[in-house]
């Protein structure tokens, strides 16, 4: 396996710290840089940047405006790959929008939609496309197959890379009362190009854990080490926290601990 890059998300409020720091190999970009961000030139000059913005939901074809935006951002960042999510978060007519990643039904129809639209997007990008798994807090009875099977068929049909979000896998396993390692084994790990690691925290509404801009626990780091050993094509591992409440201490310590764990 090639040397893994270890990085984090670019949090603009930590721009000064990140512009000066050592020990971070790359930064994922969730939003375009603000015109007023004084640290952006230094950040762009210093880091490998990964495009990880909202480009659109691939249950529908991306329109030309979205494709041009994706191309422009990938060029601006000189991103080695372009990431999107397995998400379907707004209704087709635009009337309802969750504003939060939400998985599609795991059905033949949605598989066909995602394969077709991902292939169309791939053909318009100059970089590989990677797709990130999204957790569901509840199962929808209309789904026809388990998520890992659906993902495997997607990756085999499209040749896209897999962005394996480990807390998402961990949460799915947690809410299905299953050991995380066993659930992970079901996923098509041979397609993984990048991994996400983050902390989880209890949420009062969910009455249980959910993704949080927090340090990964020792358990999550051990899970990450286990996952990395199963992903022969992985090139990067990213501390997945993007929030105005994230502190520099948490970001740097998390990256350091991830590096130590793998």
């Amino acid at each position: 396996m090639t040397q893994l890059m270890v990085g984090a998300f670019y949090n603009p409020h930590l721009g000064a710290d990140l512009a000066r720091s050592d020990g971070i190999d790359h930064l994922a970009m969730a939003d375009p840089p603000a015109a007023s961000d004084p640290w952006w030139p230094a950040i762009r000059g210093r880091y490998t940047l990964l495009l990880h913005d909202y480009l659109g939901q691939l249950s529908e074809p991306l329109d030309e405006r979205s494709i041009q935006r994706a191309r422009a951002l990938a060029e601006l960042y000189r991103s080695p790959w372009v990431a999107e999510h397995f998400q379907c978060l707004h209704t087709e007519d635009g009337s309802y929008n969750l504003n939060y990643v939400f998985p599609p039904l795991y059905t033949e129809e949605f598989l066909d939609r995602f394969v077709r639209n991902a292939c169309a997007l791939k053909a318009r990008l100059d970089q590989p496309l990677v797709m990130e798994n999204i957790p569901g807090f509840f199962d929808v009875k209309a789904s026809q197959m388990p998520e890992p099977i659906w993902l495997r068929r997607f990756f085999e049909a499209t040749g896209a890379g897999f962005l394996l979000d480990l807390p998402h896998v961990w949460l799915q396993a947690h809410y299905h009362h299953m050991p995380a390692e066993r659930w992970l084994d079901e996923f098509p790990l041979e397609h993984v190009m990048e991994l996400h690691v983050a902390g989880v925290a209890d949420d009062a509404d969910l009455a249980g854990p959910w993704i949080a801009p927090a340090e990964p626990s020792d358990e999550m780091l051990a899970f990450a080490a286990h996952a990395v050993s199963r992903c022969p094509r992985a090139r990067a591992i990213t501390f997945d926290a993007f929030s105005p409440t994230l502190t520099a201490d948490v970001l740097f310590r998390s990256v350091e601990r991830i590096r130590g764990a793998i």
Partner: protein
């Protein structure tokens, strides 16, 4: 038999629309565990409005160290919990209801700031204007007479300007645009705003981008009269403008998302 895409839309609606989630229509479908759906919907609601409050009330947020009132704190209070059974994520009514909670909470802060009432009206207007259904992807074909892209060059009789629903004109007592950038920079004493009548236009593009522009009496007249029925000539006469001036004003309003053109057939 609905398509899978239609089923997905139904699940999304149930998560976004609390009254629908409570309806017999949704419950009889038994698509998912109702307790889990309810809990996740509440989580999403708090997340949805956290993002909007932090963004649209960022100036009040910058003042929180003197007011003692961080706008997003309302999301953990009983008043927001009481709204949960009525919330429809992204609707104007819900944005207005949440906006009212925020403004009432921040306005009761411990330090009086002369322009705080204006600031809260401005921030609330931004949040409400942003709400509503949006265009997520452009149509593959040309958008035709209803195109929001510019003042049509065709026969004048055919196209009639129409103020986009949700566009807001704000009459303020203080010159807020001059003080807003200062609030986001480091300060030790609260930046002050000049007391000067200020009129602002707040509008949203079909894709959801909110824009603000200073306005004047002629712009206000156009916004108030553009009803999709008046021709350019009628509108120009009512606003006290030459047609050429009106076209220029309209171009700016179309760019902001405040005005669109409908076919006046």
């Amino acid at each position: 038999m609905p398509s899978d895409r239609a089923l997905q839309d139904d699940v999304i609606r149930a998560l976004a629309d609390a009254p629908y989630r409570g309806s017999a229509d949704w419950r009889r479908r038994e698509l998912a565990d109702p307790d889990r759906v309810e809990r996740y919907a509440r989580f999403l609601a708090r997340h949805f409005y956290y993002e909007r409050i932090v963004h649209f009330f960022k100036y009040s947020r910058a003042l929180a160290r003197v007011t003692g009132r961080a706008p997003e704190a309302i999301l953990k209070g009983p008043a927001f919990d009481a709204l949960l059974p009525t919330l429809v994520l992204g609707s104007r009514e819900t944005a207005a209801a949440v906006g009212r909670l925020v403004t009432a909470y921040v306005a009761a802060g411990r330090m009086p700031i002369p322009y705080l009432a204006d600031l809260l009206r401005y921030e609330e207007a931004m949040m409400v204007v942003e709400a509503g259904a949006r265009v997520w992807r452009d149509a593959d074909e040309a958008e035709g007479a209803g195109s929001p892209k510019g003042v049509p060059a065709g026969p004048r009789e055919r196209y009639r300007p129409e103020t986009v629903a949700g566009t807001v004109l704000l009459e303020l007592a203080y010159d807020l645009p001059a003080v807003l950038p200062k609030l986001l920079q480091p300060w030790t004493e609260v930046p002050q705003a000049l007391e000067r009548p200020t009129r602002l236009l707040v509008a949203r593009s079909p894709h959801g981008r909110v824009a603000v522009a200073r306005s004047d009496a002629s712009v206000a007249a156009v916004i108030e009269r553009a009803d999709g029925r008046r021709t350019l000539e009628e509108l120009a006469a009512g606003a006290g403008l030459q047609v050429a001036e009106l076209r220029q004003t309209l171009q700016g309003l179309v760019d902001l998302g405040a005005v669109r053109f409908s076919t006046g057939s």
